[in-house]
Symmetry: C2
Subunit: 251 residues, 2 copies
C-alpha cells in the first residue's frame, strides 16, 4: 500500500485551499454542499460520524440541527486545529485519524457522512466494510466523491487540456474508464494522488458491504452556481461529483 | 410521445442485423452475452419474461436450462418469425408487443430479462414501474443497455469521429452526460433514435420502482473478445454496455 497521503498539512496546499474556501465561490459551496444538504436524513437525536471532516463545517451543522453526538475525523492536524477553534458545540468531538484506520473507533453511529474524501483512499472495498461495521442497522451512509467520468482519464504528459472545444462546445476526453487505480493530478501542489473507481466498483463494493442503495446523484448546474461561475455550465457535459445515499441492512 | 420505433422491421436494418449476428464476431456475442450469462439467477422452475427477445436465443436458453415457462415479447414481426421457426420448446411462447405496452401482459414472473433493448424506450421510469408490476416479490430483474458514457455525447454535425487518437491512445469525446433524452445515431440505417439516461436516472428509477440493486457491471474486454476483435481493447477506455441485476422488494 502507498503511504497514506496528508496533503492538507502541506503548507502550500493548505493556504491555497484556505483561500479557495474563503471566497465561497467554488464547486464545494455551489455544487456539492447544496446536493449533500438535500440528501441528508433526519438528524434529530442521531449519532453522526463525519469522515474527512476538515474544518468541521458540517459537524457544526449537524450539532445545530438536532444531532445528539458528532464525531469528526480527519488526517490533517491543521484542519482539525481550525475545526476546534471554530466549534463551540459541546456534543461535537474531533479526532485525528486517517480513513484507513476507522476500525480504531470503538463506537456505533446512526449516520456516517463524508464529503469529497474517498477519492484519496486506495482500498475502497475495505473502507466500505469498515464504515458498514460502524453503522447501526438501518443506519444511513451519505457520501460524495469525485465522479468517475471526472477521474477516469489518464492524459498524455504533453496534453494540457482535458477537453477540446469545437464551435463553442466542450468535448471532454474520456479514456481509461474501466481501469481502476491511481491517478496523479495537479491541484494546488503537484503530486496529489487520487484513485479512480468505475461506477460498478463503487456500487458493488457498497452492496457487498451490506448497503442498500437509496439514491444516486451526479452534480448538475443550478441557478445560483451558473450566475456566479460561468464554467459550471459544463456540469451538464461532465459532472464533477457523484453522491450516494445508502442504508445499512439488517443482517 | 414519439411514435414507437420498430427498426428491426426495416428491411435494410434487418438484413444488416442478420449478417452481423450470423458472424458471431460482434459485441453482443463477445462482450454482452458472456456477462449476462454470468449474472443469471437460478432458472429452475422459474417463469421468465424476455423483453425485446428478438430471435429468441435467450428464450430457448432459459427453456433448456430448467425454466418452467418463458414468454418472449418483441415489437418486430420479422424477428418473432425467426424466433418461432427456431424454437421447438413447448414451454416457450412469443407475443408481439412493444415495451411500451407491458401492462397488457396479465401474468406474473419470477425473472424479467432484457438484453440491449431499453435504450430505445423514451419513458424509462414508466418501463421500470411496469416491470416491477410484472414481477413476483423477490423476483429478479436482469438487463443490459448501452452504457451512459456511450450514449451521452451529441456530436457536432461536422464531426465524423467519436474520439481523437493521440500517440496511439484513444480519447473519446464526452459531452451532454447530464442531459437525458433523444440521441440520433447512425447504425445500419439512418434515423435510429436512442435515449440517453445518466447513471443516476437509471439507478433512481429502479429504486423508485421498488427494486433493490444487487449488482452493477460495465462491459470490459475479455481474452476471447480481444483475440477476435482488436478494437474491443477500447472497452477499457469507454464501455459499450451497462448491466444491472436487481430484486423486486417485498412491500
Amino acid at each position: 500500500m502507498n503511504e497514506i497521503q496528508n496533503i492538507y498539512d502541506n503548507d502550500t496546499f493548505f493556504s491555497e485551499y484556505e483561500k479557495m474556501r474563503e471566497t465561497k465561490i467554488n464547486a464545494n459551496e455551489l455544487l456539492e454542499i447544496p446536493m449533500m444538504l438535500s440528501l441528508l436524513p433526519n438528524l434529530k437525536e442521531k449519532r453522526i460520524l463525519d469522515i474527512g471532516c476538515g474544518a468541521g463545517g458540517m459537524c457544526r451543522y449537524f450539532a445545530e440541527h438536532g444531532a445528539k453526538y458528532v464525531l469528526g475525523v480527519d488526517i490533517s492536524k491543521k484542519m482539525l486545529e481550525v475545526a476546534k477553534s471554530e466549534t463551540q458545540n459541546s456534543n461535537v468531538e474531533y479526532r485525528r485519524l486517517a480513513m484507513e484506520y476507522l476500525p480504531e473507533i470503538k463506537d456505533k453511529f446512526d449516520i456516517v457522512f463524508s464529503s469529497l474524501a474517498f477519492h484519496y483512499v486506495e482500498d475502497f472495498n475495505k473502507l466500505m466494510h469498515d464504515i458498514s461495521n460502524l453503522l447501526n442497522p438501518k443506519g444511513i451512509f451519505l457520501f460524495s466523491q469525485e465522479h468517475p467520468v471526472n477521474t477516469a482519464t489518464i492524459l498524455n504528459a504533453n496534453m494540457d487540456k482535458k477537453y477540446v472545444e469545437i464551435e463553442g462546445k466542450r468535448y471532454y476526453y474520456l479514456s481509461d474508464y474501466n481501469v481502476d487505480g491511481v491517478r496523479n493530478l495537479k491541484w494546488n501542489i503537484d503530486g496529489v494522488i487520487k484513485y479512480h473507481r468505475s461506477f460498478s466498483t463503487i456500487m458493488n463494493d457498497l452492496i457487498e458491504s451490506h448497503f442498500k442503495i437509496l439514491r444516486v446523484e451526479e452534480s448538475k448546474p443550478n441557478k445560483r452556481a451558473l450566475e456566479l461561475v460561468e464554467k459550471f455550465k459544463h456540469q451538464k457535459d461532465r459532472p464533477y461529483f457523484l453522491f450516494v445515499k445508502a442504508e445499512k441492512e439488517t443482517l
